[in-house]
Chain length 360, copies 4
């Protein structure tokens, strides 16, 4: 956070000045949507190389009347005056700018993949190039409040959890933390709305290519896999083996994870397992453990920051099925980023994240 940053305190108007790098993308506009109703935040700078000079409301008409901002070039200068800068960029952008911004006292919340892995070599293996500032990886706080809220309060650099990882990890964490399932046989069959692929002009993402259809992708290996393995390994206290298959839904928003694991005690009852989840997430404002046997649908969280979870125990089997849903752009990205910011700045954690999901 910049020098002279206005610390929030009861009874006075403190304003946190915000910069967003890459605000033309879907996580960028979602940040702008959420921050528009955040009483302590004011977005001062939004950057985009391709849209420089364009009014953000021309690109996203839902922002008309609420933002007068125009995109500026993604230079350090306009951003270094901000208290907090969000990176809503593809990978390989944040790591080029973060060191200088940190040096200028700016707090960073990175929604991209640049700082999620602690191991720079692993990063290089999955992203195909060397990491630009491996020395920052150990300092980075992984941005999943349900995992490490305490560490966020002091963090200068938060790497928000990925969208799939958020859903998969929240679903597996109570089980692995308590050693209830076989950590060598985890399966995550997950599906995401098309907004997860971003706002890129690619034939594969056309409505005509995807509407009314469903398919898996990256079934042989997806970049979210090492992130999930890293975090679940930390929770389990040792390496885990996970098969992760993502699928593309013909919808805009939403992630649904169907998680399969083998119970260490095949006779363990659903009620007991349910209680582990209820206890684990008892104080979490954004995790909703549904009654056992529920089937959460993705739209029950559309536009909200919630993760809803339900447990199932198929008969005649030692398998536990966990269902978890989030909105990939909210709890899976920008909502989580605002939640992290709130924690980091000592604000009420739910500030700006109150709106309910749209139903129908």
């Amino acid at each position: 956070m910049g020098e002279g940053h206005p610390v929030h305190s009861e009874g006075r108007v403190a304003v946190i000045s915000i910069g967003i790098v890459g605000a033309t993308g879907y996580t960028g506009v979602e940040l702008l949507r959420l921050l528009a109703n955040h009483p302590e935040a004011e977005v001062r700078a939004i950057t985009s190389r391709s849209a420089e000079g364009t009014a953000v409301a021309d690109l996203y008409p839902n922002l008309r009347g609420r933002y007068d901002l125009r995109f500026v070039a993604p230079d350090v200068e306009p951003l270094s005056d901000c208290d907090v800068v969000f990176f809503a960029t593809p990978h390989n952008v944040a790591m080029g700018m973060v060191p200088e911004l940190l040096a200028r006292g700016v707090r960073i919340i990175d929604l991209s993949a640049d700082f999620r892995l602690r191991d720079a070599e692993l990063w290089q293996r999955w992203y195909g190039e060397p990491h630009a500032c491996p020395e920052l990886l150990t300092e980075t706080v992984y941005g999943l409040p349900e995992l490490n809220r305490a560490a966020m309060a002091e963090a200068r650099l938060i790497a928000c959890a990925g969208c799939y990882p958020t859903a998969v990890q929240l679903g597996f964490m109570p089980l692995l933390a308590h050693g209830l399932v076989d950590a060598d046989r985890l399966i995550a069959s997950a599906a995401s709305g098309a907004s997860g692929a971003g706002r890129q002009a690619r034939v594969d993402n056309l409505l005509s290519e995807t509407a009314g259809s469903f398919k898996a992708y990256g079934a042989s290996g997806h970049r979210h896999l090492p992130e999930i393995r890293q975090i679940l390994g930390e929770v389990a206290g040792g390496p885990v083996s996970l098969t992760f298959v993502p699928h593309l839904l013909p919808i805009v928003r939403g992630i649904h994870a169907t998680l399969y694991s083998e119970l260490v005690d095949a006779d363990q009852e659903l009620a007991t397992l349910q209680q582990y989840f209820v206890d684990y997430y008892r104080d979490e404002p954004f995790v909703d453990v549904l009654p056992p046997g529920s089937h959460p649908q993705t739209r029950s969280v559309t536009g909200s920051n919630l993760c809803r979870i339900a447990l199932h125990r198929p008969a005649d089997s030692g398998v536990l099925v966990v269902l978890a849903v989030i909105d990939n752009l909210t709890k899976g990205a920008s909502g989580q980023a605002v939640q992290c910011m709130n924690i980091a700045l000592g604000l009420p954690e739910t500030m700006g994240l109150e709106p309910l999901a749209l139903m129908p």
Copy 2:
């Protein structure tokens, strides 16, 4: 409004107690969504004959954690303690209960069609049965703030404008008020998302019957037609002739109206016409006149209370094309109802209606 109603005044916590009749339907849950973040409102009673005893959050999981309410039978008793009662019912329900609630001092905001037409015989012709309390029709204030905000402040009974009528009327009103177009040749080609048909178990509304498809319905005559004619006639100062064809979109929310009219002065330029609209809606918080040549899409207002309007002048023609979009459940129903309530109670008109539309 009930005796002892807490008048809102700066600086103190006034709470308006709310009842909702028919809260199992889509306009009902939308009211609950909006009122959950309304700082002055508290929903105290929700009624449903079919769902009596059910927790509302079991029916609509997006409300989990925000409402503890259970549906009660639709009797006058629990409702008569409320300051305001909303009817989110099919037609023919409100008119059976409204007289008694009014007698008990409750303010009524009716989202159904029962009180929209001033002419009881016309009502009977379109709805196939006599009106139960025709004496109330003259007192009723038609709930379209952009038309008659002043009258709302004193109204006991507000009949919210229908969803299609809201979009069609907002698009035609400036033209008719200024006599710019031929009132005998109005055409409204409009389309609605499937939520407009309500939450009824009908084969026609199944996803398998409607997804990936589009069709007109009611092309020979639709119940919203007399409502639109009545209001546009008042604005024009004489009878209008309107052809109205609704269409069913394979989406959940949204109304798009494409309005065709013939200019009285076929040489009138687009810029002049645009200025009429800008001036007409200058102080309206929920009407957004887009730059000429824009094409508003329905999702730019999804979940918000806005109506966005754009004008086009096709070349070599004396026809003006007006495009208007709303969310049928928000500005077309429950958002408008909250807006009407705010006006009626002297609250800031936008209270509880701040959230932006989701994009993407």
Copy 3:
């Protein structure tokens, strides 16, 4: 088949007379669509209690100009003159009529669940009532040509494989037949379009409840599970343990199965496994094994009778992932039924099933 049935032989016009019970449903209309272009079939009787007297083309306008038929009451009489009768009904209808039709020499192809399980007690456990004619269960031929084509030629009664079972079984069969995977740890995560739920007026299936959303259902146990276990057990030569979680896609047609299994030999290479599949399905006209690493999408089979399959071997894991897609109404129901009929009558197996899937 009825006495005097016209056996098909080269060079003469043989016509098979067809009856369909329950033709108002989605598998019924799909049968009508496919049979309209089947050169040897003529539909003579369609039954429906609810739609008696209605012209089928009024219910399904895609059939206009091709069928003059009207629905008749579901009595034995009009059906007993047919060579083949298809049951496109919910469970518990066919078993009430089949014995008498068989007695009259009619060949039966049942698309419902009535005759799929060989064990009448198991049937009763899952369907909640006693089976009406358990004595027929041993005679019934299970209608999955890729499994038991030979047996079909002599069958009077064919019980077509269910939609999910078709996709799941075709994906697992080569692995279990060759003992390549652990039969105690099979996981099938599958998803279906909404047409799988049939043409019933239920709130859960409304477009407004399902569009733009995704959810699991029946995660604790689904009626297709015992069918899949039975067949895979036969293929494996012993009991299998399978976890099966179905999901509801916001699309009309299509099933996608993502199948996880543990390789007995964790070092087995993808190319070897691929070859097993290629060999297993070498002569199958309706199974298309894609190149390894492919991701079949459901729409690549929309309206066609094909099952497309692809294999993946995630790195650092002994898990094999098999992806399989079908159209639930075609290969998952009515197309398979026609394929079974062709085999049973000695017609070319692909007759009437030539049309390609629509893309886009």
Copy 4:
């Protein structure tokens, strides 16, 4: 058609060799789908600059097993051996190649806009560049069989009607041919699925930008307008004035046109008007006039070559409403092209166009 072209005659296998320019696009693959089951056609060459060397089945998996073809560069050579060459290209491609192909005796069926307008200056005004071979415009036969079937039999060059024009013209033609409506006040409010925009990588056409939404586009002027005016003017025997507003549906296939016109005789009854349509299209295999009061939905023609039409007479009004639906890729493009080819070659007009629409 090339010299020595095998004229079709009863009882022998005549094969028409086909070339397709631009077969990577949606009208190209639709041609391939339809021609796969056309008993007289054999596709010999498909061209694409961008996909040269790619197997067509890799691009469109629905074609797997039916086509072994690979794309070749779009040169004249491989095409000049064909009897018929289809151009399934954006505008400005066909006019560069057609003269040479004609000179080599190849029959051309152009699905693009290059030869639809008879007036080269008008073409230049709407397409922003001079026409490359204006001398061919008078010879070109406009490819709408319902308008000028006779002329097609001798045509070397057929310019298939555009997708919107097909639906709009078929809906207005009987009215204008008989002088039943005011030709100065035609309004066409039409909507198309996203496949009409082609297979181009544009942000506007992403699923995330269009799904669950609806909007108009080109409301101030669209390139199909001059085509419609030209044809309707010919039918009316004099200039017509038409307002045409297209809209984008969040579906893949389908066009719905809602046509408004003023009756010359405001008292004319619906039954009389209906009879005009029935008579006008009595012998047309691909125009289906529905009973009065029907509301055709787009999916009733998905994948088929039909246009379904219905008439409505709103009460208290002199306006006639005509509803017309087609599949934009079939009757609106490739199906119509095959129909034109069949006519031009003297084949049965419906050959290869038999499949019914998918419902559901």
